[in-house]
């Protein structure tokens, strides 16, 4: 029988480990349980390793276009295993880093599959049973299987790829992001089901590496959560790069051959066609890992696969909390981290406020990059909000031209009456690093006035952010 923890967190993904560190900072005795990897999917099979792959693709692309910059590069090629090895190395390094951070903050790591036996009641702490797992070796210093008690239990178990019936991933022909992350050879042709961030990033990567790529999207627009205007610009660029895009198209059947896979695709007009490729990536979303945790037994309210919380991470069962993907969309690492901190501060009795989900940015790291925060123009109009819209094209920006990146757009949306910055949508080079300027502005509740009076450094891509605001108020300079 071990000592009682103040907080025990199930899942060491970005939501879980950040929560654990925050809890430790606040002086709470903290443990985090994981069955597979510190840093979760994000760090091991998601956000981070894909960025490593995409960086290789980006440099490869530049090398192929060296002449555009007055450079010579002959016999440009790549080594698939070296690209994958680099990507795995990046994950490995950061995974070790998470272990160090937890250790430094005196957070106990418990290795295995966790199930909640009971939540805290009165002076009786909650109990969690951890069973041994064969999925992965425990990191050094981790505690093993056993029964643990904690006053507060936080479920941060993340999500996994959604599986469509008849299109079950088989690790060889039908891939999820796991297999797509570690190809042994570059496929010559590829079908990508789903055009969200995951699907589009892999499509962009494999296209740059030379594969014939077809993206199949059920909805009429690729990147369905993005502003339609931005998505349309991105689509044009993808098509120019040779990615074939089918929207309003449904995969009705997938047949596996020897070394190839054939998908039957029906478009919204009822026309049916068959597409054959070496591999198919299923990227049709993710679902929360809510099973086998004992949640049903404890009477935790779950709606459509999502643990219902009060915005501060509290479930309907006192002493039991949920954050990150299991607590609902947007299923993003930075949302999970922030939600985790709010949850821990609530447990500590600090005056936490629920997160404003309208101010969570989203980034897609394809070429061109896409970044956005807040309302799209269409959503604002749907809600009847009067808006002023600003647009500024990359072609009007000196730095963009110098970089050789003249394609893209920065779009801003203001409340016509109050000047509130409602949203920002960007497509083009490095926009994922730019969006945060607008996120800060939104959180500080600036109006157009403060943005107009802000000095942006020259020459930078960020000047476009200024010009877009100016454009919304009829004051744009460089178009």
């Amino acid at each position: 029988m071990s000592d009682t923890y103040d907080v025990l967190i199930i899942g060491a993904g970005p939501g879980g480990y950040v929560s654990a560190i925050r809890a430790a900072q606040l002086g709470l005795k903290t443990a985090v349980v994981d069955r597979e990897h510190l840093g979760g999917i994000c760090l091991n099979w998601g956000c981070i390793p894909t960025k490593a792959l995409l960086r290789s693709a980006e440099i490869y692309h530049y090398m192929q276009h060296a002449a555009d910059y007055g450079l010579k590069a002959d016999n440009v090629g790549f080594d698939t295993s070296a690209i994958v090895k680099r990507s795995r190395g990046v994950s490995g390094r950061l995974n070790g880093g998470v272990g160090m951070l937890l250790k430094k903050n005196k957070v106990d790591v418990i290795w295995g599959e966790a199930a909640i036996e009971s939540a805290a009641e009165g002076n009786e702490p909650g109990r969690v049973t951890v069973k041994e797992t064969k999925r992965a070796e425990a990191p050094k210093g981790a505690k093993g299987a056993g029964s643990y008690s904690a006053k507060h239990i936080v479920v941060a178990t993340g999500a996994r790829p959604r599986v469509l019936p008849g299109i079950e991933p088989d690790k060889s022909l039908i891939w999820t992001y796991y297999e797509a992350m570690v190809p042994e050879t570059m496929p010559k042709s590829l079908l990508v089901m789903g055009s969200g961030a995951i699907g589009i990033e892999f499509a962009s990567f494999y296209r740059t590496m030379g594969a014939e790529v077809t993206v199949i999207e059920l909805l009429p627009q690729i990147l369905p959560v993005e502003d339609p205007e931005i998505a349309a610009i991105a689509r044009k660029r993808f098509e120019k790069q040779g990615i074939r895009i089918l929207t309003g198209a449904k995969v009705t059947k997938v047949e596996k051959g020897s070394g190839s896979v054939t998908a039957t695709v029906e478009d919204d007009k009822g026309a049916v066609r068959q597409l054959t490729a070496e591999k198919l990536i299923s990227a049709v979303g993710v679902v929360g890992n809510i099973e086998n945790l004992g949640l049903e037994k404890l009477g935790v309210t779950i709606e459509r696969g999502i643990v219902v919380t009060d915005g501060l991470g509290r479930t309907n069962v006192p002493g039991l909390y949920a954050i990150g993907d299991v607590a609902g969309p947007p299923m993003l690492a930075h949302k999970a981290e922030h939600e985790g901190v709010i949850c821990i501060e609530t447990i500590k009795g600090l005056h936490a406020h629920p997160m404003d989900k309208a101010k969570i940015p989203g980034c897609t790291y394809c070429q061109p990059q896409i970044a956005s925060v807040g309302l799209s123009e269409a959503k604002a109009k749907e809600q009847g909000i009067p808006v002023k819209v600003g647009r500024f094209p990359f072609a009007g920006n000196g730095k963009a031209i110098a970089l050789g990146e003249p394609d893209g757009l920065v779009k801003t949306l203001f409340h016509a009456k109050t000047g509130q910055l409602l949203g920002a949508h960007m497509v083009g080079a490095e926009v994922t690093e730019l969006i945060q300027g607008y996120v800060v502005a939104m959180n500080l509740e600036t109006t157009e006035e403060e943005l107009i009076h802000t000095v942006f450094p020259h020459p930078t891509l960020s000047e476009m952010m200024h010009e877009s605001v100016l454009d919304a108020y009829g004051r744009v300079i460089h178009t």
Partner: protein, 479 residues
């Protein structure tokens, strides 16, 4: 370089104050520590001390000016070697006392060093002016083109730009909105809550006066509906219409009257009061009091070291009763209850034009003579309005004694955030049944007003019973 003297903040919550009196004249030499002026806030009168040396060159806000916003420029000191006469006359900061809204804003480049979130120190900020005599009075609407709204000139009301703009558009006095953002910053949701009626009193009358005809008649303070923060009720004009003009005298409200009105309306509207009365026999207490007072040591003039009043026993009795019934020693705090270890008892002191409730801290630990001496000091300083805010803030309960006026019993209004208040009637000879026969005893009736959110009926009764026991067996209070 001339030194600006700004309206100081005497407490963290102070937003404006009255400039009661100048103790230095223009031309007077000033040295560090000299008292320059007296400032009257909602309740206290405080002195403004100089922290620099020089000559008081200009007084910009004449004495007797009401509602000077914190951080407004009130005077200028010429430094040694400067000719006071050569100092340009800056415009007083208080350019918005009912004046037109287009009044020139304070120059935006004035650094606002006194505007720290906890700007509670009572000395003025040193503000270095721009070199080469950029004159503050030429602060014509600059490029920014912003008219500063209420509370904005001094920057004392921390509010997001969006909150300010919406407040302005909706006619909300932002200074009256309670901020829920970081460090009490007023943000969009606070203003929205105020608009939706959460703080109807925050709706500023001057904004309504923006119509031409209203602007023609100089907006007087009397046009403010429900001064003092009454949430609903008749407006000034509605009340006045019911009376013959000239049949009454109009008394402008001082800070104390406004505070009393605001706090007690808040109390009656937000605190669910209930009342418990009990009769307490005083014979033993009166006998003990006589004995103790007669035994008091006398100084060489024959003056006793102390003279205990019945009220001193009441304070001590209530303090000890709270220790015996600790759950009643508590206040409501929005989403939780604050339960105290010590008994801090407020005592209502009537003064000319209002009342104060200074607090006897840790009254349970103090001897009756200490309580008596403290009360004399606090009451004396209350009458001259020289109490410091920290001397009348806090406490979980209060005593209001109208016995000396012959009042038999009454119910007092709880002074937020207190959980209770004890209304003490006068002691008198009463005929009661004792052992089946009529007997004459000295007795008084006390009534406890209780905040039902904190203290339920039985708990309140328990507190009163404990109090009765202590008063009727007063020896217990001596040990």
């Amino acid at each position: 370089m001339p030194i600006n003297v700004l309206m100081p903040a005497l407490s963290p919550t102070m937003e404006k104050g009255n400039l009661a009196k100048w103790l230095k004249k223009e031309g007077d030499p000033v040295k560090s520590g000299d008292v320059l002026a007296e400032i009257e806030t909602d309740k206290a009168t405080m002195e403004v001390e100089a922290i620099d040396e020089g000559v008081l060159a200009k007084i910009l806000v004449p004495e007797g000016t009401a509602d000077v916003p914190v951080n407004d420029l009130i005077a200028v000191i010429a430094e040694e070697g400067e000719d006071p006469a050569s100092i340009a006359t800056p415009k007083a900061g208080g350019a918005k006392d009912g004046g037109p809204k287009t009044a020139p804003a304070e120059p935006k480049n004035t650094p606002d060093q006194n505007a720290g979130p906890d700007g509670s120190h009572a000395s003025y900020a040193r503000v270095d002016q721009a070199p080469d005599g950029a004159k503050p009075d030429e602060g014509k609407t600059n490029g920014a083109g912003r008219a500063t709204e209420a509370g904005g000139a001094g920057g004392r009301t921390f509010a997001s730009p969006l909150a300010r703009r919406i407040a302005k558009q909706e006619g909300i006095d932002i200074a009256a909105v309670t901020g829920s953002g970081p460090h009490g910053r007023v943000i969009q949701r606070d203003v929205q809550a105020a608009i939706e009626g959460g703080a109807a009193e925050a709706r500023a009358a001057p904004a309504k006066a923006a119509t031409p005809e209203a602007a023609a008649t100089k907006p007087e303070p009397t046009s403010v509906p429900a001064a003092g923060g009454v949430a609903t009720g008749m407006t000034t004009d509605q009340v006045k219409a019911l009376f013959e003009p000239g049949s009454y005298e109009e008394i402008t409200l001082d800070g104390m009257r406004k505070t009393i009105a605001k706090r007690l309306v808040e109390s009656k509207q937000t605190v669910p009061h209930f009342y418990l009365s009990i009769d307490v026999e005083l014979d033993a207490l009166l006998a003990l009091r006589t004995q103790v007072n007669e035994g008091a040591a006398k100084d060489k003039d024959g003056k006793p070291a102390f003279k205990l009043s019945v009220n001193d026993f009441v304070i001590k009795g209530l303090a000890l009763a709270l220790q015996r019934v600790p759950n009643a020693n508590a206040v409501w705090a929005g989403d939780r209850i604050l339960k105290f270890k010590n008994s801090d008892v407020g005592v209502a002191v009537a003064i000319e034009g209002g009342l104060f409730t200074p607090v006897i801290r840790r009254a349970e630990q103090k001897t009756l003579s200490t309580i008596s001496a403290e009360m004399k000091d606090l009451a004396g300083r209350a009458r001259t309005r020289k109490l410091k805010p920290e001397e009348y803030q806090g406490g979980s309960t209060a005593v209001s004694n109208l016995g000396m006026f012959g009042i038999k019993s009454f119910s007092a209004v709880i002074n937020p955030p207190h959980g209770t208040i004890l209304a003490v009637g006068g002691g008198e000879a009463r005929v009661v049944a004792k052992d089946g026969a009529p007997a004459v005893v000295q007795a008084m009736t006390v009534t406890l007003s209780v905040d039902h959110r904190v203290v339920d009926g039985a708990l309140g009764a328990e507190l009163l019973a404990a109090f009765k026991g202590l008063i009727e067996n007063p020896m217990g209070m001596l040990v």
